[in-house]
């Protein structure tokens, strides 16, 4: 079970109800719950979208698209019903923030879904959780049932004449389904393969209707933003990066955990102050800053602010906010191999560059790892990764290629030394563990 953590530098907006029993609807109401949605009904869609735009909130799933703008793209008039789809298929390695939201504040997800529905003129929302999160699905199901019992969901919610329904849905194990179009396929009872875009979901989405898809953290922010005002929320962060976000700091730190920090907060301070520094007083070697798909930063590249733009300038991404910290004992060759093994396992096989590229990078790195590599292998890995970039329907191909390129470019010397028999780091994975493994 997740252990809740705390640090004085945290700014608790989204997490302010964590640890307070807010899964109980009465407690949630006592803590200002379901006020924002009632205000949203009174003020109307334009006010909601303007407030969200003013907040500078950007998608917390990883892509960082401005939420208010996404909602405004949905056509006002549509022959087909419109839908809200909450992406809780949290599967990016290093990411466990939605896990905490579902457990600690499920009603914020429900209220956010309703607000998104009101903004776009939808009457039905789906909250999709990854299959492994069964205990969290049960928490969400109970929260939804409690909201129905109060008359907050269903017909004539809060006695205002507005109707809104929510269906909770479970996945069954598939990283790829976290991609928005694959998520819609899965929800339609199909294999989770991506759709060709355009058309974008805002125009042709779930069941062919206009659909807003947001990450669970993005959605859970909506009620807080409406309550505090868009400008006030924006001010907490940096320019074009409004507010705060949940950062899951894991790996070799003293105090791993999910912390809510203002956007733009120093990565160095996040590691050394908030998470207590490197475990056992060891030296920092590298950081994967936003989930496994983000290019690695070396130890001397961590003086950077944690927002979408600053991380982009630093040649990496803010991604899902999952900060994975590697100490000096880690072999980058092993870490790169374990990373690509994951993407190879999860590639849905739809696009050839991704299906074949991940497989060949994994095979090549496996040979390097086993001691049979040549320097040409490093070039081949880079060549394969470069040729996957931008050549697939969905971002999984990029998600596999980007970290691979980061590892071989920034740690090329370590790969070369490894091939020559000078292996850095303490090995974790044996050849036996790789053969016949689960990935």
């Amino acid at each position: 079970m997740p252990t809740l953590v705390s640090h004085p530098d945290e700014v608790k907006i989204l997490s302010r109800r964590f640890g307070m029993g807010a899964a109980n609807i009465e407690k949630y109401i006592e803590l200002d719950g379901y006020k924002a949605v009632q205000q949203a009904i009174t003020e109307g869609p334009e006010w909601i979208i303007n407030t969200m735009k003013a907040s500078g909130l950007r998608g917390r799933g990883g892509a960082g698209f401005p939420t208010g703008m996404k909602w405004s793209f949905v056509p006002k008039v549509s022959e087909k019903p419109k839908y809200v789809l909450v992406n809780g298929d949290e599967s990016e390695p290093g990411t466990c923030k939605d896990h905490v939201i579902f457990r600690e504040d499920p009603h914020a997800v429900i209220e956010g879904t309703m607000i998104a529905g009101l903004a776009i003129g939808s009457k039905l929302g789906f909250i999709y959780l990854r299959g492994e999160y069964r205990y969290l699905l049960k928490i969400m199901e109970k929260a939804v049932a409690d909201a129905y019992a109060k008359g907050y969901l269903g017909k004539n919610i809060f006695g205002t004449g507005v109707d809104f329904d929510i269906i909770t849905q479970t996945g069954a194990g598939a990283y790829e389904v976290g991609e928005e179009s694959a998520l819609m396929e899965s929800l339609e009872g199909k294999r989770g393969v991506p759709r060709i875009k355009p058309p974008f979901p805002a125009v042709v989405g779930l069941y062919g209707g206009p659909t807003v898809i947001n990450n669970a953290e993005t959605i859970a922010n909506a009620p807080h933003i409406l309550l505090m005002g868009g400008e006030a929320y924006a001010k907490l962060g940096t320019e074009r990066n409004g507010g705060t976000r949940l950062f899951g700091i894991s790996g070799h730190v003293e105090r791993p955990g999910v912390y809510e920090l203002p956007m733009g907060y120093s990565l160095r301070k996040a590691i050394y102050d908030v998470a207590g520094g490197i475990k056992g007083g060891k030296k920092l070697k590298a950081v994967v800053p936003g989930g496994a798909s983000c290019p690695v930063l070396t130890a001397d590249e961590i003086d950077v602010g944690l927002d979408f733009d600053q991380m982009g300038k630093a040649g990496t991404m803010l991604g899902s906010g999952g900060i994975v910290v590697l100490d000096e004992t880690v072999s980058i060759v092993e870490f790169a191999l374990r990373t690509i093994a994951f993407y190879q396992h999860e590639s849905c096989g739809w696009c050839i560059p991704c299906r074949e590229g991940t497989d060949w990078i994994k095979k090549t790195l496996t040979r390097v790892h086993a001691g049979g590599g040549s320097k040409k292998d490093i070039d081949n890995v880079q060549y394969l990764a470069e040729n996957m970039m931008g050549r697939t329907f969905c971002p999984l191909g990029d998600a596999a290629a980007m970290p691979t390129l980061g590892f071989v470019k920034k740690f090329r010397k370590e790969f070369e030394d490894y091939i020559e028999g000078n292996k850095a780091g303490i090995p974790i994975i044996t050849v036996e563990q790789l053969v016949g493994a689960g990935h």
Partner: protein, 169 residues
């Protein structure tokens, strides 16, 4: 009464399925959850499960199998009563995930996707389960166990052997 005559599921699950196919704009949206819930009850997705779910959703068995083969949690062979799923993805790997996996292999005497002779446990190496900040972590069926050490794993196994483990479904 189930809408399907001679259902292979318990009355509770059959009733749940009767309802599940009615709540979505499209019946087929019930497919993935149904497969998982059926597996929870039967132990795996058997030919009979495929047949009945195809009938309930009114699609071809082939369509069901097509979806079934995509999702990693769905299996077509029985697992142990308690399916131990150890994460070795990056955050867990850094904090001893492989050590935990090896310990489980040794302790249970089985490898990846194998079942103990008594059928009590099965073991799987899995990808990220969303417990990165509490690594290393594993799931026994749907129940999370985190901040693991080999000693803690032993306690967890004994708990399940003694019938004291949570079996969340």
């Amino acid at each position: 009464m189930s809408t399907v005559a001679n259902t292979i599921f318990s009355p509770e699950l059959a009733a749940r399925f009767d309802k599940l196919v009615t709540i979505y704009p499209l019946k087929r949206s019930a497919l993935v959850p149904m497969l998982l819930y059926a597996q929870d009850e039967i132990g795996y997705v058997s030919d009979e499960v495929v047949r009945e779910i195809a009938q309930r959703i009114d699609i071809l068995e082939l369509d069901v199998r097509n979806v079934l083969s995509y999702y990693s949690m769905l299996r077509t062979k029985p697992a142990g009563k308690y399916n131990v799923q150890v994460c070795t993805n990056i955050s867990c790997m850094l904090r001893g995930g492989y050590e935990i996996l090896d310990h489980c292999k040794h302790k249970l005497g089985i490898g990846h996707k194998e079942v103990t002779k008594d059928g009590v446990f099965s073991l799987e190496e899995v990808e990220c389960i969303g417990a990165c900040c509490w690594a290393p972590a594993m799931q026994v069926n749907y129940d999370f166990h985190d901040d693991l050490t080999p000693e803690k794993v032993d306690v967890v196994f004994q708990m399940y052997r003694d019938g004291q483990g949570k079996d969340e479904k």
